[in-house]
């Protein structure tokens, strides 16, 4: 049974990682084909790092993703706070349902519906370009919000209701109580939301496809444009680089959240050592 499991796992992982392996492999291709390896070389990496359009797209994406992540996190934090304190259940579930729509709807529907809105707004304002950085930013914030709220809301629910009351009991105004006690407690949720919003934004293709104008290219849109022309390994090199950046960020985050657990473990061990020493001392005294 054990070996069968092992084989099964291996097969699944081969399936999951095959395209990844192909991507990395071809990125080092000496030749120009994407199906036949012809020696190894770093030429595609060099080309990508020199390509102005690519670097611009990278900069655009970073700016966009950071803006989208920050704004949606701020908006989402307040939203989570507001939703948590809502008294009427009907209102609360209505807001949650609407919030979840971008998550439940296929990306393509979210994308085209936003596009229609922007086109309409554009015609109303009489402008020539309907889509731009701003429409893209709005779209990204919109699809990030549900994930941010869903990261932060559980932390609110987890918090002992007495905690902000204790803060006020000790002299904090409601605002101080929020800043000194509630915020530190929900902080992990905010961080998770922020990182999720950033990575979702960084990798998004479908929605960006419909809501960006020709003036502002994100990395994925740039890659898409590249695929419209003949496909060369340069795209693979670019994707590999992006992939590793995201991977490192995820691992770093994993490592960071592990830090809390490690600290708790260290404290437990310290406490156990203290107790052992205490017992030894009292045993020693009794013997004396």
């Amino acid at each position: 049974m054990k070996t069968a499991s092992r084989i099964y796992l291996a097969l699944v992982f081969i399936f999951l990682y095959a395209p990844l392996a192909v991507m990395i492999l071809i990125s080092f291709n000496g030749g120009e084909s994407t199906t036949v390896m012809d020696g190894t070389s770093l030429r595609w990496y060099r080309e990508m790092l020199r390509d102005g359009a690519t670097l611009q797209a990278l900069q655009n994406t970073v700016v966009l993703s950071i803006s989208s992540a920050v704004i949606s996190t701020i908006l989402g934090t307040f939203a989570a706070m507001g939703i948590h304190h809502m008294r009427r259940k009907a209102l609360r579930s209505a807001v949650m349902t609407v919030t979840n729509v971008p998550m439940m709807n296929p990306d393509i529907v979210t994308g085209i519906s936003l596009m229609l809105l922007f086109v309409f707004a554009g015609t109303l304002l009489g402008s020539e370009t309907y889509l731009s950085f701003w429409t893209l930013l709005i779209a990204h914030i919109t699809f990030s919000l549900p994930y941010v709220i869903l990261s932060i809301l559980p932390k609110f629910k987890q918090m002992d209701r007495n905690l902000p009351e204790a803060a006020m009991d000790l002299g904090c105004t409601p605002l101080q109580s929020f800043l000194k006690v509630e915020l530190p407690f929900i902080a992990p949720g905010i961080l998770t939301g922020l990182i999720m919003a950033f990575t979702l934004s960084f990798d998004d293709f479908v929605i960006s496809n419909f809501t960006s104008g020709s003036g502002f290219e994100t990395l994925t849109i740039h890659i898409f444009a590249m695929t419209k022309k003949s496909v060369k390994p340069d795209i693979y090199a670019l994707s590999t680089m992006i992939f590793f950046v995201v991977l490192v960020m995820l691992l770093a985050y994993n490592f960071m959240t592990g830090a809390d657990e490690r600290r708790a473990r260290r404290e437990r061990e310290a406490k156990a050592r203290f107790l052992r020493r205490l017992r030894k001392e009292t045993a020693g005294k009794e013997a004396a």
């Binding site: 002992d160 905690l163 204790a166 803060a167 009991d169 000790l170 002299g171 407690f185 404290e267």
Partner: protein, 375 residues
């Protein structure tokens, strides 16, 4: 010596979702006293506490502090501090910072904070725990940090919401003593909420018995015990045999067809009353010499005494005595005159049954399952 009233509740009412939780509460709390509000789950004791602390506002009625009306004063402006049921320690701060929290908000200087925190930790026996993270502490230790955190603010009144509920028996008893000592040392008024009547009796100067949003009796522990105001209080505090009776005249009570001497007066002639006799006040004698006679139902050895259930005219009494009586034997009961306590009939009469379905563990169980307090 005139005792000063520090907190007063006048006509306080509170409802949740249409249900009345507090019905016209009048309460005077004095300076330098240990007051306990005692009652079963849902009686309104925590709500009363929260209104004093400022976390809830009464629907009607007034709250006074030092004679000044404070209905609209928020908790952070009241000279009152609270020890919460589940401690509510700030998880992101260590012990030192938790205790120092209120002082930091008040912008007290670091030097003074350091000195006062040290003092407080010494008071609650947690010296050396400054750097510990609160999530690594045991229940009892967390409780003491919560107490230190509140006391360091030098409040006039300290509110404690069932603080010892989550601790095991031995620890609870130790903490009860500690709390009593701390209160004596600091002179702060403690308003303590619990459903454990033993706790209330052993710690307090004044006990307030509540049920279903009303205050039933206020008094010293010994008075509440010896002279309960009605059947509910009699049943809630300690063990009690509650029988129907009448008062043919002052100092005479009639139960089970017999008239006995007692020490109560002031009732109307032949007024119907509830008569309370505490199990430990009954002696077993030979049937001929007994005031009442009955057949022994069960005998349970409790170490300190025997608990004997006796069937008297169909009503099962419980008595506690060091004398043994064999099951199914006939015995007589002797009751001193001052062991009879007569109470006016109330809405609680007849609710409390005899000891036919008696089991001590069951009693304790139902006390403990009533944990979660109302809003």
């Amino acid at each position: 010596m005139e005792r000063k009233k520090i907190v007063q509740l006048k006509g306080v009412c509170k409802s949740y979702d249409g249900e009345a939780v507090l019905k016209n509460i009048d309460l005077d709390i004095y300076d330098n006293e240990f007051m306990t509000i005692l009652g079963p789950s849902g009686c309104g004791k925590t709500t009363t506490l929260r209104i004093i602390g400022g976390f809830e506002a009464p629907d009607s009625g007034e709250v006074f502090f030092d004679g000044v009306k404070i209905n609209d004063v928020p908790p952070y402006k009241r000279s009152i501090n609270t020890v919460f049921q589940r401690y509510a320690l700030f998880p992101h701060l260590n012990v030192y910072e938790n205790v120092a929290f209120g002082l930091r908000v008040a912008k007290v200087g670091d030097e003074e904070i350091s000195q006062r925190v040290k003092e407080m930790l010494k008071l609650v026996n947690l010296s050396g725990f400054e750097k510990r993270h609160v999530t690594t502490l045991s229940g009892g230790q967390q409780q003491r940090v919560a107490i230190a955190r509140a006391l360091i603010m030098k409040p006039r009144v300290l509110l404690l919401d069932e603080p010892l509920g989550a601790l095991d028996l031995k620890l609870r008893k130790d903490m009860q003593l500690e709390l009593k000592n701390i209160r004596k040392q600091t002179g702060i008024t403690f308003v303590y909420v619990t459903h454990d009547q033993e706790e209330a009796l052993s710690m307090s100067d004044t006990v307030v018995v509540m049920n279903e949003g009303e205050i039933l009796q206020v008094g010293k522990p010994i008075d509440i015990y010896n002279e309960p105001a009605n059947a509910f209080v009699a049943d809630f505090i300690g063990e009690s045999n509650i029988v129907d009776g009448t008062m043919p005249e002052d100092f005479r009570v009639k139960i089970n067809g017999h008239v006995f001497e007692c020490v109560d007066k002031g009732f109307a002639k032949d007024e119907k009353v509830d008569v309370v006799i505490r199990p430990e006040d009954v002696d077993i004698v030979a049937p001929e010499k007994g005031m009442l006679t009955g057949k022994v139902d069960t005998v349970t050895f409790m170490g300190v005494h025997y608990e004997i259930i006796i069937d008297i005219d169909g009503f099962k009494w419980m008595i506690q005595t060091t004398d043994y009586a064999a099951p199914d034997s006939f015995v007589g009961l002797y009751i001193e005159p001052d062991a009879f306590h007569c109470m006016k009939k109330s809405q609680y009469s007849g609710i409390f049954e005899d000891y036919s379905a008696y089991s001590m563990e069951y009693d304790l169980l139902s006390e403990n399952t009533g944990e979660e307090e109302e809003e």
